[in-house]
């Protein structure tokens, strides 16, 4: 059975003045996918994500749940964690709870406190809910933003390097939450990372992106791919695919 199409992308191109980031992309993402988009720095991964969210001008077509992303209104279905944590205003006057509250979709009018507390519990931040954001460590601030992305109990989570500021333990528990949401609740997850080896443990699909789609398929297919062996070299492919993943890919 083919799952519902979450994203359908047709002839997608993005161009900055004097610089074409990528052109002519075509792909689909399906309900229940845990897709890791990996690639080197400057490969256009974050640009691709922002384009999928209609945050950047583009040419081509993007359909989100069957609706052109330009006309899409059901934003409560989407949770997004941006990468650029350095842009975050450290003196912004808000408690952890207020930051999460800001993420509640406009269409939701009741049970807001329950939603906030649930999201904070997921990232183990409930005891810090009344703390000012400016008094927290970088990792705690990042967890508050993750809770904000989860607060609407979204169907689709889009995460751009979400674990950069997290301790290894918290990172592990965060990925476990994502895996549970993906496998038990059927949520679709799109995760951007430069850590291709690490993410193989969790993702069901992999897109290797370097201003173009170099590979798109399951992690096992990636490991068996002759073209990827040519692209990365045998040793690198072997290292990526034989890290201690302890995973069984859904194929």
């Amino acid at each position: 059975m083919i799952n519902q199409e979450v994203y359908r992308v047709q002839s997608l191109s993005v161009r900055y003045p004097g610089n074409e980031v990528f052109a002519g992309l075509n792909f689909s993402i399906y309900q229940g996918d845990f897709l890791a988009i990996v690639g080197p720095n400057g490969s256009g991964k974050s640009t691709l994500i922002k384009t999928l969210l209609n945050l950047l001008p583009f040419s081509g077509k993007i359909f989100l749940y069957g609706i052109s992303v330009k006309d899409f209104k059901d934003w409560h279905k989407i949770g997004y964690i941006p990468q650029r944590f350095s842009y975050f205003n450290p003196i912004f006057p808000a408690s952890v709870k207020e930051v999460v509250q800001m993420g509640i979709a406009k269409s939701i009018t009741s049970n807001k406190n329950i939603l906030i507390e649930r999201a904070l519990s997921l990232v183990e931040m409930l005891p810090l809910k009344d703390k000012p954001l400016s008094n927290l460590s970088g990792g705690q601030q990042q967890r508050a933003l993750i809770a904000r992305a989860l607060v609407n109990n979204p169907e689709l989570l889009i995460l751009d390097e979400p674990t950069v500021a997290l301790d290894p333990e918290i990172r592990e528990s965060f990925f476990n939450i994502l895996v549970r949401m993906n496998r038990e609740e059927g949520k679709t997850i799109i995760l951007v990372t430069h850590d291709i080896g690490y993410v193989g443990k969790y993702a069901s699909k992999l897109m290797y992106f370097d201003r173009n789609i170099i590979f798109y398929g399951t992690f096992n297919d990636f490991c068996k791919s002759e073209s990827m062996k040519d692209y990365f070299g045998y040793r690198t492919q072997h290292l990526i695919c034989h890290m201690d993943h302890n995973h069984i890919k859904g194929d």
Partner: protein
């Protein structure tokens, strides 16, 4: 003189009431300008307002009615320059404000210079405020404060992160235009209180003071209003009793409040060490 005697004078009551409204409006709006790092937009629009005032005086029209559309259109121009021409926000403010003040100087020169009127706009004279000025302030304050309160959560969300705000379904483009126009209206409304030269202080200082000691956006909003109203009412009273320029006195009271907040923040940091 007994302090209560002040209320015997109609012009003092008008000044205090108008000052109260302007203080509330400026402080409420100023928080978003500070958080969006647009503090200087007030200064820039004030310079543009000078051009409008000069044109009003030249054409023998009430400068307020010329300055208002002048300022609103310029605020939209700044936004357009930033979005369409990819010019940095501070550069766009600089360009428009320089053009506005240059236009004002040329108009003043063409008129062979203005009398003392222009000084009351440049440095403010709230004690000379008329009944009609007061009524206009009431209407504009209700419009500006009302819109800010309607969009309060959305404005904070946008100030926190514009992209995240957009993903929660907030129309950030529309909201930026609303914020820009409200700023222009507030600047023009405030010019009789503190003057074109000092209007940005009324927008920035109360919220920056509140940001020093409060970490919740609702508390920052509340105390920004309290600081602003206190400074305006105290400033007007001091300026009347000691015969000082009202605009400058209001700004100095604001500055003292800011210093007190800095001191409290410093003492709090000592406690936590």
């Amino acid at each position: 003189m007994e302090l209560l005697e002040l209320f015997k004078y109609d012009f003092i009551v008008r000044a205090l009431f108008t000052g109260l409204l302007v203080a509330m409006t400026c402080s409420l709006l100023g928080i978003f300008l500070v958080l969006k790092r647009l503090s200087l937009i007030g200064d820039g629009l004030a310079h543009i307002t000078f051009g409008g005032v000069a044109l009003g005086l030249l054409t023998k029209n009430d400068p307020f009615y010329i300055a208002l559309p002048f300022s609103v259109l310029s605020s939209l121009g700044i936004l357009k320059l930033t979005h369409k021409s990819k010019i940095y926000g501070d550069a766009a403010i600089g360009i428009i404000s320089a053009a506005g003040i240059a236009g004002g100087v040329i108009v003043s020169h063409m008129a062979g210079g203005f009398n003392i009127d222009i000084f009351s706009y440049l440095f403010g004279n709230i004690l000379a405020i008329s009944k009609s000025d007061m009524y206009i302030s009431v209407i504009l304050s209700v419009v500006v404060c009302g819109l800010i309160l309607i969009y309060l959560d959305d404005l904070f969300s946008m100030a926190f992160d514009e992209e995240l705000a957009k993903i929660t379904g907030i129309d950030t483009v529309k909201l930026n235009y609303v914020l820009s126009m409200l700023t222009a209206i507030t600047v023009v409304m405030s010019m009789r209180v503190v003057g074109i030269m000092l209007v940005s202080a009324l927008l920035i200082l109360p919220s920056v003071s509140a940001l020093q000691i409060f970490h919740s956006y609702r508390k920052v909003s509340l105390f920004s209003i309290i600081f602003s109203v206190t400074s305006v009412l105290t400033g007007i009273t001091i300026s009347f009793v000691y015969n000082l320029p009202s605009g400058a006195t209001i700004v100095m009271v604001n500055f003292l409040i800011f210093l007190c907040c800095l001191m409290i923040k410093y003492l709090e940091s000592l406690k936590t060490k």
